[in-house]
Amino acid sequence: MKKILLLFISLGILLAFSNEERFLFERLFQSLFNKKIIKIYTNKEGAKLIKKSRILKIVFTCDKADLILGIVDINCSKPVFVLNYYIYKNNSNVLGAFYWRKGRPQLRLRKNIIKKYKLNLSKDFEDFLE
């Protein structure tokens, strides 16, 4: 019984966090691209996070996308936002990252990449700039 209860709590938390991630992405990407609908080219992991979003639309070719979410095996000159700290750390071209540490969500953004793609950023996210 206790295990079932814990499982339900964990699932609830995951759902809550997945919603949290989606809202964060919506706000962040809307701020960056200054658009109502942002087209995302992503992998399975990224698609899971944003599939329910009405703002973030998944596209199946990189050319049509505004942003690449996660690591994709394709050469494309669109800004990349990753979901892993180590990928972010080891790739200086990556725009930003979102990952979890000990149940705490972490967001990182690179100022130079934002400038490179001539993107905007609202003041709400300035604290996360590196």
């Binding site: 709590i9 972490q106 990182r108």
Partner: protein
């Protein structure tokens, strides 16, 4: 009503006592529950504080902790392993962070996690949740704990390590579980539910009991009311019965009178028969006296003789009148009498009438014990029965009619039997003849009250028995009267 009020009062008192004592126990229980939770949490927190202090002391032994870790990756690895030794089921995460004055990020110095995907790298930037709490630690330089996002299960404890008693050098972060508190809370909740159920059951039992008691009392009250009604009804019934008995007695008296009046005609006829012979005697004497006067044969001796005869005859006539007058006198109380004498008196009254109708009359009077009777009423009964016998003998035109009157003793009783040879009472009317207004005679001769009154007199007033049976010749009316007690006593003494 008093009992009812007292029961209601006791029930209400009991109910309030249970409710108040339950409220008291419940408040004590709630306080204990809160205290227990607080104490358990405090125990967990103390454990976390102790661990933090141990880590702080250990770090102090390393010298300039931050510089040592920055410069030596091996020491970092070993130190992470050291932190890992504190991780248990209740201590999820232990890591150490610091924040440079100019940096807007916290950075991680060490992390005890074994999971590489969840482990902080050395100097990795760290964005905490509930930032205010973290800044509060930096500002106040005091340990702090707060509930983490995982509701109720995990708490985060921030323990600042102060450098030179001025600034926070680094913060030891421990995420710890409050499962023991939850476990205790859950068990206490179950216990509280049990307690509440117990109280609810007791209150329910009291309410049901009260219901039963009220129902019982109500029924008792109703029973009392009914009993009162029954008693009242009994009283009124008793009153009515008494009234009816009184009426019945009055009616009986009236009937006695009525039957006596009915007898009056018979008696007048009897008087006429009684007087006929003495009047003939007087007429004869007067005639003789007249003849003697005409023939001048009267002398003193003859005159004396006539005078004596007339006197005796007039005396007899007067006696006859007295006898009949006595018959109509009301008996005031019972008297000790010789039954035979009373019968003879009646026979003397009726004899001329019977003789005139050529009915034989035999007396066999052998009861020598006295009985206590109302003389005239007893005589009325005897007269009634003899008159009935006489009437039936005439009506049925019986040849050689006779009436036999017997008295004898039987089992300390004086028995009187009046037997005729009139053929007896028909079986189908045997039970009817003692009922009022039942008669076999025509309207002129019968009222239907004679035998009814006779039975009433014998059985109710004289405490005897009057019955009838047929023998081979005719009807036998049998009267049984108790022999007087004193006589019986005297007999016993002898």
């Amino acid at each position: 009503m008093k009992e009812f009020k007292r029961s209601v009062f006791i029930m209400i008192l009991l109910l309030f006592t249970i409710i108040f004592s339950s409220a008291f126990y419940f408040s004590v229980f709630s306080k204990t529950q809160t205290d227990l939770k607080k104490e358990t949490f405090k125990y967990l927190l103390n454990e976390v504080i102790d661990i933090s202090k141990n880590i702080e002391n250990y770090n102090k032994g390393m010298g300039d902790f931050k510089t040592v870790l920055k410069n030596n990756p091996l020491i970092r690895t070993n130190y992470n392993n050291f932190l890992n030794t504190f991780i248990t089921a209740n201590l999820k995460n232990i890591f150490i962070v610091y924040k440079d004055k100019n940096s807007k990020f916290f950075k991680v110095l060490a992390d005890g996690s074994k999971n590489p995907l969840d482990r902080f790298e050395f100097d990795e930037k760290f964005e905490p949740r509930f930032k205010n709490k973290w800044y509060e630690v930096l500002r106040n330089k005091k340990p702090i704990y707060f509930r983490n996002s995982i509701e109720g299960i995990w708490y985060t404890f921030l323990y600042p390590v102060i450098k030179d008693s001025k600034v926070v050098d680094y913060i030891i972060v421990i995420d710890f579980s409050t499962k023991p508190v939850l476990f205790i809370e859950k068990n206490l909740k179950s216990l509280r539910k049990l307690f509440m159920s117990y109280v609810a059951i007791i209150i329910w039992i009291i309410i049901v009991l009260a219901g039963f008691i009220f129902y019982d009392l109500r029924r008792e009250n109703e029973m009392k009311k009914l009993l009162k009604k029954v008693q009242e009804f009994n009283l009124s019934l008793q009153k009515k019965v008494n009234e009816e008995v009184q009426k019945s007695r009055e009616k009986d008296k009236q009937l006695i009178l009525q039957s006596r009046l009915a007898l009056m005609g018979e008696l007048l006829s009897m008087i006429a028969h009684q007087w006929r012979q003495p009047l003939n005697v007087i007429a004869g004497v007067v005639n003789n006296m007249q003849l003697d006067l005409e023939f001048d044969e009267i002398d003193k001796k003859k005159l004396k003789e006539y005078n004596e005869k007339l006197k005796n005859t007039i005396k007899y006539l007067s006696q006859t009148i007295d006898d009949f007058r006595k018959f109509y006198r009301e008996d005031k109380q019972k008297e000790l009498c010789d039954v035979n004498e009373l019968i003879e008196e009646v026979v003397n009254m009726i004899k001329p009438s019977i003789n005139n109708k050529k009915i034989g009359l035999k007396l066999k009077l052998n009861c020598k014990k006295p009985v206590k009777v109302l003389k005239n009423e007893f005589k009325q009964v005897i007269l009634n029965i003899i008159k009935n016998a006489e009437d039936i003998l005439i009506e049925r035109e019986i040849k050689n009619p006779y009436i036999i009157i017997k008295t004898f003793e039987c089992d300390n009783k004086c028995v009187i039997e009046i037997n005729d040879n009139g053929g007896g009472v028909a079986l189908q009317i045997k039970d009817e003849i003692f009922k009022p207004y039942f008669t076999t005679k025509d309207e002129k001769n019968g009222t239907g009250l004679g035998l009814y009154m006779s039975k009433n007199i014998i059985e109710k007033r004289l405490n005897g028995v009057l019955s009838v049976y047929n023998n081979e010749n005719g009807a036998v009316f049998r009267i049984e009267l108790e022999v007087e007690d004193e006589y019986k006593r005297d007999q016993g003494n002898n």
